[in-house]
Amino acid sequence: MTPDQARHLIEEALAQVAPDVDMADLTPDTDLRDGLGLDSLDFLRFVEILSEQTGRQIAEDDYPQLATLASAAKFLAGG
């Protein structure tokens, strides 16, 4: 997966989890949970969608790597 594909996938997942979030507000380093106001259930759903879409197991220990758009894209592209 290229970084662009990963970024696209993440944005799609966020749009599903939090439909009212304005992606324009999203910088590569915005903290997804605090910055976008995702609660723990939203975040779980976000991880769930990424896992489904990529077919990858994402462990709880990997969550910190999904904290921002940039780190998440790197994590997904790196896999």
Binding site: A18, D20, R33, D34, G37, L38, D39, S40, L41, L44, R45, V47, E48, S51, I58, A59, E60
Partner: protein
């Protein structure tokens, strides 16, 4: 129109999911109601057959207005009534002629053989009066029933000789609250003794029972009394069920076009703020809150949860909030003084623990639906119920019962980053539990300083119902439970 929460005054029918003739079961979703907060799925309080939809789509009516009439099914199948519109709604042959039957003595129902098929409400009047015409009821219970607006004659007694006990009265009151029926009796009417037949005829003829003089025993209103109360020239009864709708006057101004569902976001936000404002102002005005708090080491709970999650798919994993909720529910079960309602100047404990969950909506505002019997659910189930509830709350697809029967409420602001929250109690509940963010803090452990994940737990409680000692014990129990996650 049921009151879907203590702060609701009126509601708009957005959609009917049933039509006359449909069979419904208690708990079936039969309509979608728009409240000031959200669209709510409303469930039937009865099992039976839908007779009429009285309030039309798009109409806004006050709480207590009849939405629909449902003919209740016989309790014993096949005893009397075939399916279909009940005979009572048919046009009487000679409507104008007052029945010469006089006041129904000893609770006999004219034209109705016993054992009668259970018919709407009021069946119990007969049972009680007939079986125990002279049972003594203590003045205390009589007073209590009067305060609660209950007709003692309506209650089946469970005491010696069929006496109505205090428990009976409380149970009936709780039942009535829970039912907030599709067809609640008006407060005035419920204090008047009325035979079921009279009640029915009054409904058919559009007679206000409050204005009828009863000539039966104890001033009970009989069918004849009702018929006498109809002014001459107005004795034509409803020709068909459909015209029953005329019985319920809907103020012109309250009627809105069917586009009520298209309430704008700004309107919704405003009305929600107002509803929350009214309820919270009432809480602070009426409830003497006391507050206690405690800091709980979450190390064991989180370690246990992470270990458990490691083996599971993302969709099956738990979040810390679910452990907190389960512990809160279990502790509530051990603290009956905190789990229930303050009503009519006294505390009325709830049997089950229905855990209200404060859910903030993305557009602002909040809803507090309940997870029923939360203390009895396994963690995985509680987790999926919580996810489901949050999703539906935000999509506006909650059920009426979920919004009305929370017995104690939890607010979890951990995701918003605050350390602690001292909430405002939702009347008539008497306690609210708050959880802050789980954060790593230096903690003294075994004489050394360690860094541990901790959460601040708080309790706001109604001082009328309990004392701070009770609250302190509750938080101690909560802490114990969070140190033994495997028992959650």
């Amino acid at each position: 129109m049921p009151a879907l929460g203590a702060d609701m005054d009126e509601g708009t029918v957005l959609e009917w999911l049933v039509k006359p003739g449909d069979k419904v079961h208690k708990g079936d979703v039969i309509a979608v109601i728009d409240t000031s907060k959200s669209a709510i799925d409303v469930e039937s309080f009865f099992t039976g057959t839908v007779e009429t939809l009285v309030t039309g789509v798009g109409q806004t009516v006050p709480v207590g207005t009849v939405l629909a009439t449902i003919a209740e099914a016989p309790a014993q199948p096949g005893v009397l009534r075939p399916a279909g519109p009940p005979a009572e709604l048919k046009v009487p042959e000679r409507p104008a002629a007052p029945q010469p039957t006089g006041p129904p003595a000893e609770g006999k129902i004219p034209e109705r053989p016993r054992p009668a098929a259970p018919r709407k409400r009021g069946k119990k009047i007969m049972a009680a009066e007939q079986a125990h015409p002279a049972v003594t009821i203590s003045p205390l219970i009589r007073k209590r029933a009067h305060e609660l607006g209950l007709d003692l004659a309506m209650l089946a007694g469970s005491g010696p000789g069929g006496a109505v006990t205090r428990a009976d009265v409380e149970r009936a009151a709780a039942e009535r609250r829970r039912e907030v029926a599709l067809k609640p009796p008006s407060p005035t009417v419920s204090r008047i003794r009325v035979t079921p037949l009279a009640r029915r005829v009054a409904a058919e003829l559009g007679v206000d029972l409050a204005g009828v003089t009863g000539t039966g025993p104890g001033g009970a209103i009989s069918e004849a009394d009702v018929r006498c109360a109809v002014p001459a020239g107005e004795t034509t009864p409803a020709r068909e069920a459909a015209s029953v709708s005329e019985v319920v006057p809907v103020p012109e101004a309250a009627q809105r076009p069917a586009a009520a569902g298209a309430r704008s976001g700004a309107e919704r936000a405003l009305s929600m703020r107002q509803a929350i404002g009214r309820l919270m102002a009432r809480s602070k005005r009426e409830i003497p809150h006391y507050y206690v708090s405690n800091t709980v080491d979450m190390t064991r709970s989180l370690d246990w949860m992470h270990e458990r999650n490691r083996k599971l798919e993302v969709s099956e994993r738990l979040v810390p909030a679910v452990l907190l909720l389960k512990a809160a529910a279990l502790a509530a079960r051990k603290a009956p003084d905190l789990n229930g309602y303050w009503l009519d100047d006294q505390f009325s404990p709830a049997g089950a623990v229905h855990l209200g969950l404060v859910i903030s909506l993305r557009g602002g505002g909040l809803l507090t639906p309940a997870i029923h019997d939360a203390a009895d659910l396994r963690l995985a189930e509680l987790m999926s119920r919580m996810r489901d509830l949050v999703t539906r709350a935000r999509a506006g697809r909650l059920r009426g019962s979920e919004l009305t029967d929370a017995t104690i409420t939890v607010t979890n602001l951990g995701d918003q980053g605050v350390e602690s929250v001292f909430g405002v109690i939702y009347p008539p509940q008497v306690a609210l539990i708050g959880f802050g963010k789980i954060t790593e803090r230096p903690v003294a452990v075994g004489g050394l300083i360690g860094v541990r994940p901790v959460v601040v737990t708080t309790l706001s409680a109604d001082h009328r119902a309990s004392d701070a000692m009770t609250g302190a014990r509750y938080l101690a129990e909560l802490s114990d439970l969070l140190h033994r996650p495997e028992e959650l």
